[in-house]
Symmetry: C2
Subunit: 379 residues, 2 copies
């Protein structure tokens, strides 16, 4: 360690002081804007905090990092080691941060919380932070499951619903929307119904990804449809942002953008997207008439996340054949190393692609979410 301590602190002048300037590529995050991020930690690879913190640091935020689990790697590998933080441990960390005067973030980000007891502790924290600072921007990613499968226990669901009261933005995927609202997303009216339910509590809702199935394709405005030239085997995902217009309205301003699905399972993508959404959200800035603070943030997050995914996918495609096998549960079961190698090859390339994360984001680059005119019109 370097010693930098002396008894006589009167000598504060340092000769040879060089002038330092902020890097021009940084987003103009307020110098004092800090984010408290509460999610999982893995030693190897990029999910949870490992997928969220570095990108937020790259765009200029100080991030306070509380780890809800300490695992060797993400659970998608099929085997992992380490421990979950108990509710008591989390509470003791928050308590000590509070007593030390270190618990006054301007933004809060929560992701995977291992169980109901731990989630209760996080709920109380969110409540406390929100009551102290009504301007707290809390992005809650209600991590429940994906593609029709829950990966948390049922008893966290009601707690997430209670936590809506403190959330500024939520970023469920389609399955999480269905789980939280009880509404299967199979029609425009179902989609409206689900958004209405969520907006009763939360001003800003992003449905991070809905597969472009026939029902959705039918209702999607012409301008948002896949290009006519597209390969018709190509699947798509829709990202929807929805901001409630007034306190009492059940209606909202809806924006959306379609992106081609990149086949294969990549972990940490949702964690990265949520972090970037929070990082790019600014409700004090003025946008053009066609955008909202939420649609702007969602566009930045979607573009950067998608670019990282393409970059990672391109890397994975160049690996030796044994490192880029396709999902095959039978063969994976017979030869577990097959899956391990595939997972390893698909870890997000955040470090190598950090120039993507740092891009300054502006409207009008052809990657904005589009206003969904008439979304709420009964017809």
């Amino acid at each position: 360690m370097i010693a930098s301590s002396v008894d006589d602190e009167a000598r504060m002048e340092t000769p040879e002081t060089t002038q330092v300037n902020h890097g021009a590529t940084l987003e103009p995050a307020d110098e004092n804007d800090r984010i408290l991020s509460i999610q999982s930690h893995v030693a190897y690879g990029y999910v949870g905090g490992k997928a969220a913190v570095f990108p937020l640091q790259c765009i200029g935020y100080d991030v306070d990092v509380v780890n809800t689990v300490n695992f060797s790697n993400h659970t998608g590998y099929g085997c992992f080691g380490g421990t979950r933080a108990s509710a008591e441990e989390l509470a003791s960390i928050f308590k000590m941060m509070d007593e030390t005067g270190l618990l006054s973030p301007q933004r809060l980000l929560t992701g995977y919380i291992p169980n109901a007891a731990a989630l209760e502790v996080v709920k109380k924290l969110a409540q406390k932070l929100k009551s102290r600072n009504p301007n707290l921007i809390y992005l809650m990613d209600p991590v429940l499951g994906d593609s029709g499968k829950l990966y948390v226990s049922q008893d966290v669901i009601p707690i997430y619903k209670e936590m809506f009261a403190y959330a500024t933005i939520i970023t469920p995927n389609w399955f999480e929307v269905e789980t939280l609202t009880g509404v299967p997303l199979l029609s425009l009216s179902a989609l409206r119904n689900a958004l209405s339910i969520l907006h009763k509590h939360v001003q800003h809702v992003i449905i991070s990804s809905i597969p472009l199935q026939p029902w959705l394709s039918k209702i999607l405005p012409e301008t948002m449809q896949p290009p006519a030239s597209a390969d018709n085997r190509q699947a798509y995902l829709l990202c929807i942002s929805s901001s409630r217009t007034t306190e009492t309205s059940s209606h909202s301003t809806v924006h959306a953008r379609l992106v081609p699905l990149i086949a294969g399972y990549f972990s940490g993508v949702g964690d990265l997207f949520s972090a970037l959404t929070l990082g790019h959200f600014n409700n004090n800035k003025r946008y053009s008439a066609t955008q909202t603070p939420l649609s702007f943030a969602a566009a930045a997050a979607l573009h950067k996340t998608y670019s990282i995914l393409e970059f990672t996918n391109a890397f994975a495609a160049r690996l030796p054949p044994e490192d880029r096998t396709t999902t095959d549960d039978e063969r994976d079961a017979a030869e577990p190393v097959r899956k391990l190698k595939r997972m390893k090859g698909r870890e997000l390339r955040l470090v190598q692609g950090q120039y993507i994360l740092r891009e300054e984001w502006r409207e009008g680059q052809g990657k904005d979410l589009q206003f969904w005119d008439g979304f709420w019109d009964s017809s």
Copy 2:
């Protein structure tokens, strides 16, 4: 979470794929060069892994992060919450990483390890990694104490000494050198003696900081002395790098550079320095006749660490008076918040100063360590 999974993985083509390029500002770290970093984690602020990982990511390394403690904040605040990872937890994480094929870093970085049992686990890991890969670059920061005070228990000292056998580079401060060698640094012959003892086991030694006391001032070559114009109340620290010339030689190539001391205690400085030293060390590259791989890495690390410290110090100096009090044990004891505020104001400004971390480092910018000609000459 964003769903990015589909059943049919045949659809690997993605239209609209954009070309991606590496950012020009990145150091040319090998794409596949990974660092395994084993040190402390704090939720708030920048010491241990929080001071090491982001800088290494900024210069292009994938970093695997194993947390030896999970604390709310660094212990310098006087109060903190959280837990230490047990030796069993650490062993289980390493074991699982190994079984999952995730334990083959090219570089290893170790810092604060809370106790002898945990350090034994890390020792076994270092031994295993080194025996598998003799080219492993292991930077061991033997974190023992500072300014004359031990902050670990005595029983870790012999284990650190055993671990020298696996280390490529060690970065003790003057107090750690004295503790590890038993030699008080009070003369040129003592300094030679201490380096000889360390070089019996380790090829590359950096003494990260020695205060420029009269004995050192007397033996320091003329070209390394403080500028004649310097304020004579200004204190200085010397950074020494020493690379053993041959396997058997007890002599070494010594370089050094003096930097003005920045008064006040800043935490995490040594952790940042060690991380940057490892990140900039490249023993496959050719340097000019006056430099070694170690002196090059030490110069980069010293310059960037010092610049971050200046940047942080300049920030702290602009804070309101209550946030930038001087150290005064009596007043701190009477009013603990005084110390908390001071500590908070002195957290390293790594995020805001990240452009410093990302600077491409070259020789000959006037910040190199200088060759200490005749260091070993008996005279």
